[in-house]
């Protein structure tokens, strides 16, 4: 057990250091979502005039989006890094050692979780700087950090699965537009009950990303909402569990081929 822990620790350390040493992995997930939310919040401020809009500040409403968008970047980063390990032969060399498959996956995802946590702290600080006050206070901010780290880990594991299946960094990059669909066809810009187009409202309702966004959003603008939070944690856990299963299956196949 302690040997597995050591393996996880070593791989996690490598994953974290490798990520933090590459500005192109750290800076865009911090800058791009905050830039997008700033621009969108300014352009969509008139939305708050719609009857039934839940807050007078569109920035507070939209602030949940960077947390989930940052997690989407985790998918890309985690997948690209693991794909690079496959392409460079590092995974083949690891396969010759007594390393456990679970240690590889957990070590890999630990790096993603650390980055997800750092991103979330940055977004919370950004919110405070631009004057957004969390309805749930400091405790709510802490829950957001936990939830965002869980979401990052879930999507990071999804990235690991894609990398193990394709073995190509370029293929991981090519999946980015498809991941973006889930963000755009969600309640990111409008509460679901105010979406006027029926098919879009339906798509947003079946899209799990809507529930992740609404969970984070509830802590910022509504207060403690057990249903929204429960759904967000459940969806994140379900995506994580499914991704772990898929990644473990793909890893077994990848190691068998070596």
């Amino acid at each position: 057990m302690s040997r597995t822990r050591t393996q996880i620790g070593n791989l996690a350390r490598r994953s974290v250091l490798r990520t933090l040493r590459q500005p192109s992995y750290v800076i865009p997930p911090l800058v791009f979502p905050t830039l997008l939310v700033t621009v969108n919040a300014a352009g969509l401020r008139p939305s708050t005039l719609l009857h039934g809009f839940p807050t007078h500040s569109f920035l507070a409403f939209a602030l949940a989006v960077p947390f989930v968008q940052g997690a989407l970047f985790s998918t890309m980063n985690a997948g690209t890094e693991l794909a690079r390990d496959i392409q460079s032969g590092f995974l083949n060399r690891l396969a010759l050692t007594p390393m456990r498959g679970s240690a590889l996956l957990l070590g890999h995802v630990a790096g993603v979780m650390v980055l997800g946590f750092v991103q979330s702290v940055f977004y919370v600080c950004y919110a405070l700087v631009v004057g957004v006050r969390f309805q749930t206070g400091a405790a709510g901010a802490f829950v957001i950090l936990v939830l965002a780290s869980l979401i990052a880990a879930a999507f990071g594991m999804l990235g690991a699965f894609l990398a193990l299946r394709t073995g190509s960094g370029e293929s991981i990059q090519a999946t980015f537009p498809f991941l973006f669909v889930f963000l755009f066809i969600s309640s990111m810009n409008t509460p679901r009950n105010l979406i006027a187009v029926h098919w879009f409202r339906l798509a947003a309702t079946v899209n799990p990303v809507s529930y992740l966004i609404e969970g984070v959003r509830s802590l910022i603008i509504s207060g403690w909402d057990g249903q929204a939070l429960g759904l967000a944690f459940a969806v994140a856990a379900a995506i994580g569990a499914a991704s772990v299963g898929l990644a473990a299956w793909a890893l077994a196949g990848r190691l068998a081929r070596t």
Binding site: P46, L50, N189
Partner: protein, 262 residues
């Protein structure tokens, strides 16, 4: 330039254009984002934000789908230019651009070739986008004869964005210059009245949008879709001025690349 010189110039421009367009349209990693992103934006904006047309002061008779169609068409044009710029940077990184510059008697033909490819790339997206927009019931005012005005603006914007990206690519000569090409274009597009008309914006975004040339392109484009010609002269003037300005930027970048022995 006449006779053999003109033939040689045309040959280089068309050769570069064909190669660039062929790469862009047959490489899945390039063609998928090229086609997918405009449709994502169109779907997300026209579908997810259509309730904004109920806002007091929102007057656009053709509906929110047409309102957003104009933005997405112009956005696709601008990003078509930027994405072609990525290809130029990649050509430099892989050493192909060096061989290209050595082989071309008149090197500005290389830039013209890239520009032709960018327009071809945008034309494909615009054709599909227009077909989808009409299929989902987009309304167009007037006799529809004003619509080509929107496409004319989009082509000028496409060339301006391509020339901007070319200038950056030829100075930095690495694909890592991608954000430097993309971010200013992204900001210029989104610091305009994207979601609601200009009078409904307030605060800093209203002040920025008022001096942003893209605002005039959007307003003229939306007017074309309504069958009008509001701000048409200003919009074409602004788009042509941007294209000329960035043509100088691109050609000076070409000289830098030549001087660097790229």
């Amino acid at each position: 330039m006449r006779g053999a010189g003109l033939r040689s110039y045309r040959s280089v421009a068309l050769g570069v254009a064909w190669r660039t367009a062929h790469n862009a349209l047959t490489t899945p990693n390039i063609v998928i984002p090229t086609l997918a992103f405009p449709f994502f934006f169109f779907t997300a904006f026209a579908g997810g934000l259509s309730q904004l047309e109920r806002l007091p002061g929102f007057h656009f008779a053709q509906g929110y789908t047409a309102f957003q169609f104009v933005f997405v068409t112009l956005q696709a044009a601008a990003f078509g230019g930027v994405f072609t710029g990525f290809g130029i940077a990649r050509d430099f990184e892989h050493g192909f651009a060096r061989r290209l510059l050595l082989a071309a008697p008149n090197r500005s033909a290389v830039v013209v070739g890239y520009a032709l490819a960018a327009v071809a790339r945008w034309a494909l997206v615009a054709a599909l986008l227009t077909a989808v927009a009409f299929a989902v019931g987009m309304q167009v005012g007037g006799g529809g004869v004003e619509l080509p005005g929107l496409y004319g603006l989009a082509i000028l914007l496409n060339c301006a964005a391509l020339l901007w990206s070319t200038g950056v690519a030829m100075r930095l000569r690495t694909i890592q210059a991608g954000p430097a090409m993309q971010m200013p274009v992204f900001l210029a597009l989104f610091f305009a009245p994207v979601y609601v008309p200009l009078p409904l914006l307030s605060g800093w975004i209203h002040a920025v949008a008022r001096v942003n040339p893209v605002t005039y392109l959007l307003e003229a484009g939306r007017s074309f879709v309504s069958g009008g010609t509001v701000h048409a002269g200003v919009a074409f003037g602004a788009a042509a001025a941007l294209a000329c300005l960035f043509a100088v930027w691109a050609l000076r970048g070409l000289r830098r690349a030549e001087a660097a022995g790229a």
